[in-house]
Structure formats: structure tokens, C-alpha cells
């Protein structure tokens, strides 16, 4: 694809990526900082602000608290819909992360913002979707728009959402008997 003449071994680039974590020294954007401060002021130790960047905030919470935090974000901060629910498998941590990207349609001040609310569920090596400990509380009552996204997350990563009214398969066939395909230990054939 890119046949650029500048050739460097991947090893020589290692120092560059070291520079990346140094960035948070910069001034944090004010408006976004204000939003995240409100959440921290309300929930304190229960939440962890992963980053505050221009237009993007990320909050990590424990799964017991996610519903309370989500209700607070909806009612007091004004985020009214979920854009995306992404599950990420971390076999090394024995955890599966679920990230809700929340947005706002009506408030001009908030329309640029995307708030990522992340939580983690325990992961089992031999999954039995729906019947093992990989469970999270569903946010469907808080944000109606997560309904299909959570169904997709259930089939693709095996995270069962407690309280979801309709935990069926969506994209995969009903008789899929293999591992949930977006887990890291599911290798696509021929690889």
C-alpha cells in the first residue's frame, strides 16, 4: 500500500512511542474537565477518569456502579443516547471490557462530546454464554438505544446482560456452537 522510501526497522521506532504517554502534561480542556469533575464529585472513589481529551471523556467504573453512574450521566449531565457499545477482550487480565459511547442530540454545548463509560466483567477460559460469571447489568433501561448493541455484544463476546429483555442472538446463526467470535482465543480459520 504505502511504498514509501523511508525504511526503518520496527525496532528503531520504539523510542517514539515512549513519547506518547508524556502528553497528558498539557492543559486539560475546561468544559470536558467540568463534566468529569461532576461525576467524580458525585461518585468519588467509585469512578476513575481514564482520560479527558478535547471532546472526549472516558470514565471507568466497576460493574456494580455502572447503572447509577449511567443514570447520573443521563439525568444530570444530559447525555441522551448511546452511539456504540464495544466489547473488548483482555485475556491477560481475565476480563472483558464493555465501553458505552454516549452522546447528546439536543444540547448544542454537548453535541461535540462523546463520553465513554467503561466497565469490566470477569472472563472465563471456557465460556458458556449466558450461564457463566461473565455478566454485566444491562443499561437498556437507562439508554433505550443500547438494546441491539448489547445483543451484539452478548453473542460476539459472551457477556450476558442482566436485565436485558431480549438476550437473543442477533447477527450469528442460532446454532453457533463455537466460542464467541470476537474473543481473542477464537482464531479465524487459516490463521
Amino acid at each position: 500500500m504505502s511504498s514509501d522510501t523511508e525504511t526503518k526497522d520496527p525496532e528503531t521506532k520504539a523510542p517514539e512511542k515512549k513519547e506518547l504517554p508524556a502528553k497528558p502534561e498539557e492543559q486539560l480542556p475546561e468544559f470536558e474537565k467540568g463534566l468529569s469533575d461532576k461525576i467524580v464529585a458525585k461518585f468519588g472513589e467509585k469512578t476513575e477518569v481514564a482520560f479527558v481529551k478535547p471532546d472526549r471523556i472516558r470514565i471507568n467504573v466497576k460493574k456494580e456502579d455502572i447503572k447509577d453512574v449511567a443514570i447520573f450521566i443521563r439525568d444530570d449531565l444530559g447525555f441522551d443516547h448511546a452511539e456504540s457499545v464495544a466489547g473488548v477482550d483482555f485475556p491477560a487480565d481475565k476480563e472483558i471490557e464493555v465501553v458505552y459511547h454516549l452522546g447528546n442530540y439536543t444540547d448544542p454545548k454537548l453535541s461535540r462530546q462523546v463520553l465513554a463509560l467503561a466497565t469490566r466483567a470477569p472472563r472465563e477460559d471456557t465460556p458458556n454464554p449466558g450461564n457463566d460469571s461473565t455478566r454485566l447489568p444491562s443499561l437498556r433501561e437507562v439508554f433505550y438505544s443500547v438494546e441491539f448493541h448489547e445483543r451484539e455484544c452478548f453473542e460476539m463476546l459472551g457477556v450476558y446482560f442482566d436485565g436485558h429483555p431480549d438476550n437473543r442472538r442477533l447477527l450469528l446463526p442460532e446454532d453457533w456452537a463455537d466460542l464467541p467470535p470476537l474473543r481473542k482465543d477464537f482464531d479465524s480459520k487459516g490463521r
Binding site: S2, K17, H81, S84, Y105, S111, Y144, S145, N167, L171
Partner: protein, 377 residues
């Protein structure tokens, strides 16, 4: 039935009055998806969409390929809008690997993206026309599409799957004389789509079939998290080209069409009005574009990012398209998630069809601007 069913599966009771119909998945006007529709006489009682027949595992595939190799296959979910589906991905990768985009490339991207938006909308409009029994409305958009497909072919070398956007700019500069040809085509195109009003949008048969069918109120459009034309037809003024402008959209004047009715007619009209706006954007971009300069910055081979997560979104032909990338110091993304507008709008379908007549189903279904392949990824 003694056999134990897998989790999530239920046996269904057969009702004497309610009949269950399968619409699809063999593309009878639903695309490659199935709608399980329950009807009481002529009225739809419940609808359960069953997508997934064209699921290709794009997100899984992306975990095996590096950031550049991912470009051609990620546009496959919607080849008619291939520039726009790559847009958030390219923006996200640029943030991860820290690539700068030259000023001229930002404008070239906007032009390509708007041309592609028109190409997609015309394809959709053709299908919308034919499924409402209006075959002229199938022929005309298909013919007019060729104008912009020719332009895009000149620009990118391919008719539909362009693979034109790359991290750090676009693949190649405008060909000689492109600005003049583009301006001429756009002006002619605008004249052509004006004629759609007479034959289609002011047609009493169409109005009768689509007005007040499948009405989505403003509150529900927000609550269901719909996006794009569905959202703007319900009176919510939200378009990322103005709300969160990216690339050259910051310097351009964009006037987003919004309608209040929220019915199928309004939803079918928004994309058509969008095309006029696209023409204005292209003309303005051609004018303001720097006349010379680089269109791509050189990337190091096999670029890799740090330990970051990035979420970028852009406005595609159907609505806001999000791309979430988790990078873990590797040349490949650790996880890539596309939050596609078709998938987000699908949730509105069971909601809108409840209580509608079965005959109105195509009018409602196609007005959602739904693309099955994109929804399945």
C-alpha cells in the same frame, strides 16, 4: 419437546389469529435480512428484525491486518459509500499514529466524500422508487449516478470501491482539469435532481403512500438513538458536519436540511435535500481549496501507535458513523469497532411498523435508509 434448547431460544406458541410471516432473507425487497412480521389481518402486530445474513466479520478481520491493509476490506460493508465508511477509520488512525494531513488533502477528502454521498443516496433512492412501484424513479437515479461515478473514477481509479482515503491524506492528487469537469458535472447534476420533485416528490401517489406512515416523534428519535436522515426527518438538527466539523468542514458553510414531520415522506425527502447541500459544499470546497500542495504525508512503513483508545465519528450518507480503535503498541488494531448508522437505525424498525398496514412495510423499511450489509459488517 424434551430436548434442551440453547440459551436464548424459546419455543413459540402458535396463535390462531396472529399469523407469522417471514420477509426475506432472499432479498424480496428487504435486502439480505429477514423481518419476522406478525400480522393480524392486514395490520402488523409485531416485527422482529433478524439481520446477520451478510455478516463478514470485518471487525475480527481488522485485528489481523495492519492499519494500511485494513483500508480495502473495511469499505466492503458499503461499497457505494466507500469514502465515507473509511473516513472515521482514517481519522482515528491518524490520531493513533500521529499523522498530519496537508491542507489540500482535507479539501480533496471533503469533495470525494460529498461525491460519494450523492452516489450512495441516488442508489438508495432508485431502490426506494422501485419498491414503491415507481420504475422511472429507479431509472433516473441510476443514470444520474454515472455522472459522479465517472468523476470518482477519474479521481480514484475505481468506480465503486475507491480505497482513496489513507492515513495522512488521500492516495493521489486530483487529475489534470478535474476542477473544471467537476464543477460542470455538479452544476448539471443539480439541475437534474431538481426534476425529481416533479416526477417523484410532488407525485400524489407517493405522497399518499408515505405521508403519515411510520411516524417517529422527536422524543422517540432521540431515545432510540437513531441517526442521520431518520433523526433529521424527526426535527432534530444534528449533523456532524456542523456539530463536530472535521477536516475542511470547519471552513465551509454547511446548511443541514431538517424536517419536522417524522413520517416516511420526510425521511425520503431528507437525503434528496442533502444532495443539493452536497453540491453547494463541493462548489465551495473547489473554490477554497489550495490550488497546489501535497495531498499526503509520508508514513513510516508499518506504522504503529501507542497504548491508546480513540473514538472518531463522521457523517456518512446514512448518518453518523463511529469508529472505536483500541491500540496496543502494535501495527494492527487490538480491537476495531464500527458503530454503523444502519445498525443504529434498525432499532426504530419494529417500533415504526407496529400498527402499520402490511402494504406500508416497504415504504417504512426503505425510508430508514438501511443497508443490510453495513449493519452486519
Amino acid at each position: 419437546m424434551t430436548a434442551k434448547l440453547p440459551p436464548g431460544l424459546k419455543l413459540q406458541k402458535v396463535d390462531e389469529r396472529i399469523m407469522t410471516l417471514n420477509v426475506g432473507p432472499q432479498h424480496p425487497g428487504s435486502g439480505h435480512m429477514r423481518l419476522i412480521v406478525q400480522v393480524d389481518g392486514d395490520f402488523i402486530v409485531a416485527c422482529d428484525p433478524d439481520p446477520g445474513y451478510v455478516h463478514r466479520g470485518e471487525e475480527k478481520m481488522a485485528e489481523y491486518r495492519n492499519y494500511l491493509f485494513n483500508i480495502p476490506h473495511l469499505e466492503r460493508p458499503i461499497i457505494h459509500d466507500s469514502c465515507n465508511i473509511l473516513y472515521p477509520y482514517v481519522l482515528a488512525v491518524e490520531e493513533i499514529i500521529g499523522a498530519e494531513v496537508p491542507e489540500r488533502a482535507k479539501y480533496v477528502r471533503v469533495i470525494a466524500s460529498e461525491l460519494n454521498r450523492c452516489v450512495y443516496i441516488l442508489y438508495w433512492l432508485g431502490i426506494y422508487g422501485i419498491f414503491l412501484g415507481h420504475s422511472t424513479m429507479f431509472m433516473w437515479p441510476m443514470g444520474d449516478r454515472e455522472l459522479f461515478i465517472d468523476l470518482l473514477e477519474k479521481l480514484t481509479g475505481a468506480r465503486v470501491t475507491h480505497a482513496y482515503f489513507i492515513p495522512g491524506g488521500v492516495r493521489n492528487d486530483l487529475p489534470a482539469n478535474f476542477e473544471d469537469v467537476c464543477l460542470r458535472q455538479v452544476n448539471y447534476f443539480e439541475k437534474r435532481i431538481k426534476e425529481y420533485a416533479d416526477i417523484f416528490y410532488n407525485n400524489p401517489i407517493l405522497i399518499h403512500r408515505t405521508e403519515n406512515t411510520g411516524v417517529l416523534s422527536r422524543e422517540d428519535a432521540i431515545r432510540l438513538g437513531t441517526t442521520g436522515s431518520v433523526l433529521r426527518a424527526s426535527g432534530v438538527d444534528f449533523d456532524l458536519r456542523t456539530k463536530e466539523p472535521y477536516d475542511a468542514y470547519e471552513e465551509l458553510n454547511v446548511n443541514i436540511p431538517v424536517l419536522k414531520e417524522g413520517d416516511s415522506y420526510a425521511r425520503s425527502k431528507i437525503p434528496w435535500l442533502d444532495m443539493f447541500e452536497s453540491c453547494n459544499i463541493i462548489r465551495e470546497a473547489l473554490e477554497k481549496m489550495p490550488k497546489s500542495g501535497a495531498v499526503r504525508t509520508k508514513l513510516k512503513p508499518n506504522p504503529r501507535g501507542g497504548d491508546v483508545t480513540v473514538y472518531k465519528r463522521t457523517e456518512s450518507g446514512r448518518g453518523s458513523l463511529g469508529c472505536y480503535i483500541v491500540s496496543k503498541n502494535k501495527p494492527e488494531p487490538y480491537r476495531l469497532k464500527l458503530s454503523v448508522p444502519s445498525f443504529r437505525n434498525l432499532i426504530a424498525l419494529p417500533y415504526l411498523l407496529k400498527g402499520e398496514k402490511l402494504g406500508n412495510m416497504p415504504a417504512v423499511y426503505w425510508s430508514l435508509n438501511y443497508w443490510p450489509v453495513e449493519a452486519d459488517r
